[in-house]
């Protein structure tokens, strides 16, 4: 296969992890909640999915059902984490940054704990090939492209459509821009905040199981999810809070993230060993540049939701 296409397909496949994370975070941020717990939630999604697979192992259910249940379990673990986050930040008005960081600490630890508890990490790996359902052959560059791969694009496009073209999306954005006004016109602010945060967390969690089972194929991969989760949060700014733009962004971040293993080969360069960590720095440096450039440009239509990070208490002026 053409090495360039190989690189591109791999980048797209990795990018899907970012896409899940950033789509989930965009929905959460649109309702005014900066969820820094996304890395932990993505980890927990992976753990929830692996747990379901290991429990269903040998249950004799048809494979597609096992995969479906695993995806559902992943989504559900994300929703649970999102519910905890919403309870603390919406109902108890806790600081969103601190709560998010605590979610990440807890999520990463809990994932390590759960995955180490699964008696043999490889007993459920047979299910992977069903995650890759349309192209189950293993040797081509398309090997990561399964149902979860296409689901991510579908979710991003549907989320874009709901946010900009439906009444629910309008209400959701209204809550994120100015909860007091939304409350005054009769929108149930609490319900929207809970709903959007939980669904957003569920979507982000899917990124975790995708990365563990589909992209890397090893449960040990949860160790890298934290870094991917932070990049997914940064991607939200790059995508200007629009899920369809984050498709583009995630592909770019995918290209940067795996540059160290593909680029030297592609350009025919024999780089010394110490160049690898420098190339691995690329996605972070580019993110920093994106942050700087977007803060310099400051276009009115490209701003974060006005009430992002501020908790809403009805009785406060």
């Amino acid at each position: 296969m053409n090495p360039f296409l190989d690189y591109l397909f791999n980048a797209l496949a990795l990018g899907v992890t970012f896409l899940y994370g950033s789509t989930g975070e965009i929905i959460t941020e649109k309702v005014g909640h900066l969820n820094l717990g996304i890395p932990g939630i993505m980890c927990m999604g992976g753990a929830g999915g692996c747990l379901a697979l290991s429990m269903l192992n040998g249950s004799g259910l048809p494979p597609f059902l096992i995969v479906l249940i695993a995806i559902f379990a992943t989504f559900f673990s994300g929703v649970l984490m999102g519910a905890l986050y919403s309870f603390l930040t919406v109902t108890l008005h806790a600081n969103q940054n601190v709560t998010g960081l605590a979610m990440t600490t807890f999520g990463v630890g809990a994932t390590k704990f759960i995955i180490s508890k699964l008696s043999s990490p490889y007993q459920y790996m047979y299910a992977i090939k069903y995650f890759r359902f349309p192209f189950s052959s293993t040797t081509t560059s398309l090997q990561h492209w399964g149902i979860m791969f296409f689901l991510a694009f579908a979710v991003a496009i549907v989320a874009s459509w709901i946010l900009t073209r439906t009444r629910v999306g309008l209400h959701l954005r209204a809550v994120g821009e100015n909860p007091a006004t939304a409350d005054a016109v009769g929108i149930n602010v609490t319900a929207y905040k809970y709903g959007a945060t939980c669904i957003g967390s569920g979507i982000a969690a899917l990124g975790g199981i995708y990365y563990i089972l589909d992209y890397s194929g090893s449960p040990e991969a949860y160790l890298q999810i934290e870094a991917l989760g932070w990049l997914a949060i940064a991607l939200v700014i790059f995508a200007l809070w629009k899920p369809y733009l984050s498709i583009l962004g995630s592909a770019l971040f995918g290209i940067l993230y795996i540059a160290s293993s593909f680029l030297p080969n592609l350009l025919g360069l024999a780089l010394p060993q110490y160049a690898t960590p420098l190339l691995k720095m690329l996605p972070y440096v580019v993110t920093i540049l994106v942050l700087i450039i977007s803060s310099i440009r400051k276009k009115r239509e490209n701003q974060p939701p006005a009430s992002l990070g501020v908790s809403y208490f009805r009785e406060e002026r």
Binding site: L36, L84, F87, L88, T91, L92, H93, A94, N95, N97, V98, T99, L101, A102, T104, T105, F106, G107, V108, G109, A110, T111, K112, F113, S116, K117, A227, W230, I233, A234, I237, Q273, Y274, T276, P277, L278, K280, M281, Y284, V285, T287, I288, L291, I292, S295, I296, K298, F313, E315, E316
Partner: protein
Amino acid sequence: MHKPEKQSREPLFHVVKRDLIAPQKALLIRVIAVLAAFMLCAVMAYFFIGANPFKFIKTVFSGAFGTTHRVWTLAKDSAILLCLALAVTPAFRMRFWNLGADGQALIGALAAILCASGLGGKIPNGVLLIIMLLASVLAGAVWGVLPAIFKAIWGTNESLFTLMMNYAATHFVTFSLLKWLVSDGSTTLSELPFGHLPKVYNEEFLVVLLSVVLTVLIFIYLNYTKQGYEVSVVGESENTARYIGINVKKVTIRTMLISGAVCGFTGFLIVSAFDHSITAETIGGLGFTAIMVSWLAKFNPLVMIVTSTLIAFLERGGAQISTDFNVSSAFPSLVVGLILFFVIGCEFFINYRIKFRTSKKGGNDE
């Protein structure tokens, strides 16, 4: 007709913001929250790892205080955590979300190690230590001030900027190991024989002492100096600060210089007193824990001595559980995470009051 209808619509309770709460009561609520979380941990440990709750509590305490050595390890862990928490505090008082303590400390540690490996043996140990210290503080300050400069000029999002700097620092450490520090192409640096902090009584004592001195210094800086006052004003309201003639940009940059420098200093302490070597994991997420320590103490340096000891105690105790009950080494972070959720949640009962319909007034603790 109207009156009874209205009454039936009144909700069971509603939430009111408190004006002020007696400090003893606030403390009581927090203690109850920590104890409740600890109980929950014990119950969960019973179900998941089959540990008898009494044995669980006993193991946690013996893990933290069981032997003299363990007590010193606990003291060392809390001292390092305390230093990092002190480092992020000035930034947080200014509402500058410095999530980059990890990277700033790591770069400080790297600077110290580079000096020690380059100059070690050629100059006296005392001079070397001073050079290492200066290099660490400078490196940490540079790593911390970069996001602050962009924040001050263009309002660049500082929490994500500092986060990305953490990962940049990790990869830069790997790069330095490969390029300058280790010659055989691996990333394991054997312990350097140079640049060790002198042992006073034992390895840990000097670091603990320095952390206490640092606490007092930061406390004085934040509460009794003009600069500390400026930090608080900028944190409360940038507009007020501007109105009374404080240069917000200058304060932002200066405060992050201090924050980064203290992080760098912590990195210096870690490598010169204990590690004498460096990996990409030398700080290993302590920066995040330090944020919690600082926040739990409501950004008060003196209270941080208590909160850092509490978190270090839970980590050591949890680690003992992992070894004794043969479960994953991730157990401590589970315990700490649960306790954090409870403490974060209990703030609600400190800031707000629940009023019941039957006009029965009075606080509702947990």
